[in-house]
Each structure stands twice: as C-alpha cells, then as structure tokens.
C-alpha cells in the first residue's frame, strides 16, 4: 500500500494541503495518509518545530506532501523545510511552469550553495559561504540532463561564472555532464537569464542552476504562470521525495478562503507521476485545465471563487470528465 506523509504546516498550508488530499483521494481512494504536525503551531505548543521522529516518519513513507511553514523572523527556530531537505538529502528541486507558450522547468540544486549553513560573524561584518561541490554539481546536472532527455528538450545552465569562481566549477561540470548525456545545452548569466526568461520563455526548456539562484529564478518564472498560486514543485533525492507548492504560508490571507489550491494540487499530480501513476496525473492536469477554462478561479489569478469551490470543481471534473 502507498503511504503518504501529510505535512499541512502553517497558514494556508492547512487549506491547500487538505484540498490536494481531497483531489488525490478522488483518484486513489486507498492510499494511507499519515499526518505529521511540524512548524510554528507545534513550536508554540511544544517548543519544538521538528523532531527526529518526524523525520523518521518522512523517511519511511513513499512520499511527503508538504504545505508551507512559517519561519519566525526572530530566528526562534531554523527553517523547517530546509532542515527536511538536508535530512532527506532532497538534492533536486524541480519547479515546472506551464502556461500558453511556456513549458519550462527550473532544476534547482537544493542542498548547498548559499544554503551551506557555513556562516560566521566577525566584529565588523557577517559572512556566508557559498559552497559548490563536485559531487553536488554532478548529481544535479545529471538530474537535469535526464529530465531534458525525457522531454526531448535542451538544457540551459544558469550561472555567474564571470564573477564567482564557485560558478566556474558549476559551469564546467554541468557542461561536461550535458556533453556526456549528449543533451543540447547553452549557458546564461543568471542576471540576464532572469530577464530573458520573461522576454523569451519559449526559448527555455530545462534550466539547471545553484540553490539561491534557483530560488529566485523559479519565483521570476512564476510571473509567466500568473503568480505563485499556480506553481508546484518536487524535492527529490535518491531515496526520498517531497512535494510542495512553491508559495509560502501566506499568513495575510490564511483563513479567508482566498488561497489558491492549484499549486498544492499540481504538486499532488507531480507526486502521482513520481509514484508511477502518470495517467492519473494527466487526469488531474486535465481537470485543472477544465476548471480554469470554466473561469472557476481564486482571486490571485483573476477569479472570485474560494479554495473549496475550486477544489470541488476539480473533483467534479475528475468524476465526470
């Protein structure tokens, strides 16, 4: 039996994750859902935002469906999603964007770069180390090249090698891997890339880049899809997998019914694909398309429907396609 850990988290995570579970249950009613409570609310109640037994559960299941977690600005606890990505070695963050004329995927390295955690304070300054390892680069490049091959596509390597020696390494290793996989590839400076992807999105297919550049680039590409409410993602390692909307917990709209559930539902579709149910994933995509076309949308993408109305419409479209 397929077992999924469900982390709603905070804010709108508690609205969009149940929406995704509802939709997935319509298609695969016999999955086992294991709720895991981590994050801000849990920290407020117990003083702990994430424990090793939470991580153990996430390692045992077939996949994790994740909402969003509020990181307190005062640094009371470190980002929960970052801890999970490292603990489960989810080194590939896959962020697809589809819209009319647009079909591209950011493949973001997910464990190192500026997220190394190697940081210190001196008397008059603070320093953070950006780490690009050979192993880390080769494995993310291999993921990206494999994805480009599956898509019969091509690869863009996003970097800042004109300034950063760490990106000279990233660039040369990614180029070598793309050559080895015989994938057509080009390279682009990250600043120029973040603009060009807006001006010429049709020129891009798979884009591989380092951690923080991928964080920024994937938000920028969100513009092509009308905002973050539409963007799903997969965090993949060699042994574990976690699926989450790109958006955060959005405390400002939590509880108002305005949260767009599509990003979480699409994350569920990516999970179906990953677990070997591509037909079901396609059915969900088609249902979402139908509901969008019918104008049943949340306010962030120009509609006036609430989270539940959109979710119910998608379930209905699935039941009578």
């Amino acid at each position: 039996m397929t077992t999924i850990a469900v982390v709603e988290g905070d804010g709108i995570g508690r609205e969009v994750v149940p929406a995704a579970v509802t939709v997935l249950s319509t298609i695969n009613p016999d999955w086992e859902w294991v709720p895991v409570e981590v994050g801000y609310a849990r920290w407020q109640r117990t003083g702990s935002s994430l424990t090793s037994s939470d991580l153990a559960v996430m390692k045992e299941v077939d996949a994790v469906l994740f909402g969003a977690i509020t990181t307190p600005p005062g640094g009371e606890y470190p980002s929960v999603i970052l801890q999970i990505r490292k603990a489960l070695d989810l080194y590939a963050n896959i962020r697809p964007v589809r819209a009319p004329g647009v079909d591209l995927v950011t493949v973001r390295e997910n464990t190192e770069g500026l997220y190394s955690g190697i940081e210190w304070e001196e008397e008059d300054r603070a320093c953070s180390v950006r780490v690009v390892s050979k192993k880390g680069t080769r494995r993310i490049a291999a993921r990206a090249a494999t994805l480009a091959r599956e898509r019969n596509g091509h690869l863009t390597i996003g970097h800042k090698a004109n300034v950063l020696r760490s990106d000279q390494l990233f660039l040369s290793l990614c180029t070598a891997v793309a050559d080895e996989y015989q994938i057509p590839h080009t390279t682009r400076l990250i600043d120029a890339l973040c603009l060009d992807v807006l001006l010429h999105p049709e020129a891009y297919d798979v884009i591989v880049t380092t951690n923080l550049f991928g964080d920024i680039l994937s938000d920028v590409t969100g513009y092509l899809a009308g905002g973050l409410g539409m963007l799903p993602s997969a965090n993949l390692g060699d042994r574990h997998a976690l699926f989450e909307p790109v958006h955060g917990s959005a405390p400002d709209i939590a509880g108002t019914g305005r949260a767009n559930p599509i990003a979480a539902i699409e994350s569920g579709a990516m999970m179906l694909n990953h677990l070997g149910y591509p037909e079901q994933a396609d059915l969900i995509e088609a249902a979402i398309q139908a509901v969008m076309l019918a104008g049943i949308k949340t306010p962030d993408i120009g509609g006036s429907a609430d989270t539940r109305t959109v979710t119910r419409a998608i379930c209905r479209a699935l039941q009578s396609p």
Copy 2:
C-alpha cells in the same frame, strides 16, 4: 571646466557611448571629453585591459561615462567594471526604471556581498564568501534612505534573512538607518520581491539590496521597461562617479546598427543631474519621450530605426523642443 572620461569599451559600447556624447554635446558643448581605452580590444593589442594610469585618469575627472566591456570567458583578465568599481570605491549602484505606472529605483550595494573576491578551491569543492560589513551596509542604506527622502518616497529592503545570517545583519542595519532617517520602509525576501515587483510595480519606490541580488533584481525590473536597452545606471562613491547603461557589450549585434542608445543617453542624463544640471537632464528626458512617442525606436523595443537615427532624432528634439 567639466571634464568627463569616456570609456567606450567593447562591442556596442563603441556605438552607444558616442551617441550619448553627441546628445550631451548638443546641450553642453564646452565639456572636455577625455577618451580612455580599456577592455578587450586593448587587451588583445597590448596584453593589458586596465592600468593604474587609466584608473588615475578616472579619479581625476568629474565623472566617467562608461559603455560596456567584454570579459573573456576563459578568465584571461578579471572584469574591468568590477575593478573600476572597487578602485574608485563606487559603492552605490543606482538603477532607476521608469515606464507607464512604474517609477522605481534599485539601490544596489556595489563593493561587497558575493563580489568580495574571497574565494578558494578545495579538492572536491569551490567556495565564495558573501561578505556583509557594517560599514558597507550603513553607507548603502544611508544612500537609499536619502534618495527615498528626496523622492518623498519609501524604502523596500530586499534580503534573504530567513536563510542567510549575513542578511540578518543587512536587514537589521538597513532597518535602523531607515528608522533614523524616518523613511517609511518595508522588508521583502528577495525571491518574493523579484516576482512581486513584476506583479505590483506601483508598490515600489526605492529598493535597497546587496550586490548580487541587486544585479539580478535590476535585470528583472528591466522587463517593466521593455528590456535592457532602456536602463541607465549610476555608480556612485563619496568622491567619484561613473555612469553606464545596465546592458553589456552585446557582441552579437555589435556593428549592425541595432544597438539601442537610450540606456547610454539616459546614463548621460543621470550624469547631468549628478553634476548639477537637472534642467538639462530633464530636457534630455523630454526629448527621449518625444522620440519614443514618434515611434523612432530600435528593434529591441519594437521599432525599426537604427542607433544613429534614434540619436539624431533626440538631438533634433533637443534643438527644437
């Protein structure tokens, strides 16, 4: 007498800088222009891309007008503009964007962050240190706050303090400076900011951020103005100033007459403002507007005119407003 060092540089720098000089000369015919040859062509000829006597000239003049320089991908010499920014301590990179409904300025820290140059290779990885100093942060925050005050505007602090301890320092010092200057201010994570500035540009006025974030953000905001062909910038220190288009040397279109001279001409207008000629700067802005409205544009912004035609039209508009 006002003396300006003119660095055309490489590629389209040799087309757009002369265009800017032509326009500026129409308004201020008695300035002295001191050509300085640095960059790729000079390196090919002499083996040196930039010398200390070039820097000495740039330090003596009232301002530098800069085009763009090609950095060879093989690392034969380090980026010339980065060397100049450091040598002249041009710590504030001011990048305004104006378009219908948009009037915002990125104030990018220009000397540290990931451009620290503190880097090394180990056996299995390469590291670059991101440096945020108290002095460097306070002075860029003060510049940004001063600019926001002059504009009767507000300040957005772009950061990634949820991941980077170096940005916890940046965020807290910028906040303190904005409080001290009594400038209304908000904070935004850089990834969310790069998307939100596209979705809601009218919500932004002055944005202050670290070096590489500012590099990316300013290219993203270029989308709001129709591309890099429209974006001027000022690199300011306490003693020196350099003005340059945000775009690069664009070897692919060099020599074809397709280069958009507006970014360089607007950089010239920023230079006029800086040197105490705001009325003349406004005249140039008005002339550019008139020429755009008349549809005399280069191909990058949807026209079919060449560099010279646009330049001549702007000069004519200046002569008979």
